[in-house]
Symmetry: C2
Subunit: 379 residues, 2 copies
């Protein structure tokens, strides 16, 4: 039995889940061996995320390959990416697999030659699935060891949004401290990471959000994260052109598409770049002819998952994850506001994500952590 | 008096336009000197192109600076660019200037140190104005000497559309013979140049046009220019995705914007590029989120005029203009179907361009050439 103090919570391999039985063929070496039962949320078929998910109980073997580790998944977000995968619109979507794209786990048991050891905290290194479960056995090459002093939520949401923000801020335009960037969807997970990383690196951010109840509260929240300017899109419609003239905005980040993309791309300085990472509006991004022809604006996209999985980027990915963790432990990069649901409660968790009105990142959390409280941040 | 056989037409400095008078101050060297009268189409103020143009008579001096030349403008197109300049929506638009962006002229008289000599055929090297006139005196550094064997219409439309097509085919993606490109507005001046240059260089072109009366005739015309495939946008809506799968389309050219841009960008292969050069629909270009995020499509624009005016591109511009002229004299690159109007008839010429229904390039032509007949092409 392993224990690890993570935040204020005791993580332990729950004894009553330990069982003995015959394992599926792929784990059989001719002997009966031990396994544990693990609940998991299965994508039974592609389709409506509120209908096709099923809670199943799987058998996870304790007899590990030499470089395998047994991981207990502590918390795993439900991302828009996951919704797209369930709907079957994400490239490579498949059914009859456990859902999930990112998670924080703790190693419970290691194979004889594995470098990862019990109590190590890990995240999956690809946007692979099988994460909406309590336990899994994985070859350690698919895992990345994170710092022991990272908090549970920051670790669970480390893989997707902060790298997207990091890569967008670093890989497209060479910015100097004091340079301006603009983004829509500024209150999204990526948007918040952009604000905090830009602030930490000395860049100025202009942030657009959609109008909503209690918009001033949200504006204030983003300003406290380090946003230099926060406007609703309606406000920006009126003042955007004067802002564009006043500041030399080199880079725009687009998570919305439609007219919102038009708004931010039109505010870019000559030669600026707009990077698309999402399309929340489900509308194609609009970019004006004069932006392209008279102002030499470039438009491109980023799929940070693909970038991270390329062998040639391995060193750079490690460097990035180290930097991001450093920002986290220094209190400069926070997880977004979250809502935690146990696996049993996956239906509600999915509904709230699909609904999208709550402005909180929904995570599935291991039963051992169901009472986990998000650390009060400096905010 | 100079004469030049250009096509079947006799070009001559018309004797009855020769006059003597006091010139405006900028030409005065303290003496009375000779000038000729020259009619010109003046942009009297920015606004509706059908209302703000005026035919004026200007005095053009015959007493030239050392590197000046007297040019007789033989033919000058009315381009969308000119319409935008008159409307005041093109960057740097100004009133109280003679209109025009490109032209073919013949040198009638040279300053003492000018390298250009009488009978040399010239085009302006920048997209400068003062071209919708009969005569002008210009420093030779603003002119480019074209081949004596180029035909009048090809020379007059050499500066804008063929270079746009050339640069788009050459500067964004390194194509190999057999590679595919796709474009909308395939029957426009740029579109036709794209078809012919792509064909000459061994690239395959997929060409979209808007549905119209006698569409089969137009399709056939474009095929005879070298188009490999021609579809109406409605036809392409149905078959576009299968075309996209079948061919590895690396490059798209967008002169329309709106949903038409969505259509061609969505047919690009992974990592493809869409280059915008115009926005005939007056709608912002649409590009899907999945194109950017999952297929790594890049979007940019081209303003070939700016590119040509940069000092560092001088050698490359000359090389390009030589290559384009070579294609013209080899019969591989043709001017689009044209309609000629005398300067007196500028009102009708502008109306027909603004109307845009006639699918012909309108040119203002010197009275000496009012009976010029477009050479029968191989088509």
């Amino acid at each position: 039995m392993t224990t690890l103090d993570l935040g204020s919570v005791n993580l332990s391999l729950t004894a009553d889940l330990l069982c003995y039985s015959t394992l599926p063929e792929r784990f059989t070496d001719g002997l009966k061996m031990s396994f544990i039962k693990s609940r998991a949320v299965l994508i039974s078929q592609l389709g409506d995320p509120t209908k096709v998910l099923k809670l199943v109980t799987q058998k996870v073997p304790l007899n590990l390959g030499t470089t395998d580790v047994l991981v207990k998944w502590l918390a795993s977000p439900i991302n828009p990416l996951d919704i797209n995968r369930i709907q079957g619109v994400y490239p490579g979507s498949q059914s009859d697999v456990v859902g999930g794209s990112e998670a924080l786990g703790v190693v419970e048991k290691s194979g004889s030659e594995a470098k990862l050891k019990p109590n190590d905290l890990v995240i999956p290194i690809s946007l692979g699935g099988q994460l909406w479960s309590e336990y899994d056995v994985i070859d350690e090459s698919s895992l990345y060891k994170v710092r022991p002093d990272i908090d549970l939520l920051s670790g669970a949401v480390l893989l997707v949004n902060p790298p997207t923000a990091y890569v967008m801020l670093k890989h497209f335009v060479k910015l100097q401290p004091g340079d301006y960037i603009i983004q829509n969807s500024a209150n999204s997970g990526v948007g918040r990471a952009v604000i905090e990383i830009a602030h930490a690196w000395g860049y100025k951010s202009i942030n657009l959000i959609r109008d909503r109840p209690e918009v001033d509260k949200l504006k204030n929240e983003l300003r406290q994260l380090g946003a230099d300017f926060v406007y609703t899109e309606d406000e920006f419609k009126k003042i955007g052109s004067s802002i564009a003239k006043e500041y030399d905005i080199k880079l725009a980040f687009n998570g919305v598409g439609g007219r919102s993309a038009l708004m931010i791309s039109s505010s870019l300085a000559f030669g600026g770049t707009i990077v698309t990472y999402g399309g929340m509006s489900k509308k194609a991004s609009e970019i004006s002819t004069s932006s392209f022809v008279f102002r030499n604006i470039k438009a491109c996209g980023v799929a940070v998952g693909n970038w991270m999985m390329m062998d040639e980027n391995k060193a750079e990915v490690s460097q990035m994850l180290e930097e991001l963790q450093q920002l986290i432990v220094e209190g400069k990069l926070h997880p977004p506001p979250v809502e935690l649901h146990e696996l049993n409660d996956f239906g509600e968790a999915i509904s709230r994500t699909v609904d999208g009105k709550h402005c909180k990142q929904v995570l599935l959390i291991h039963p051992d952590h169901k009472n986990y409280k998000q650390r009060p941040s400096k905010l």
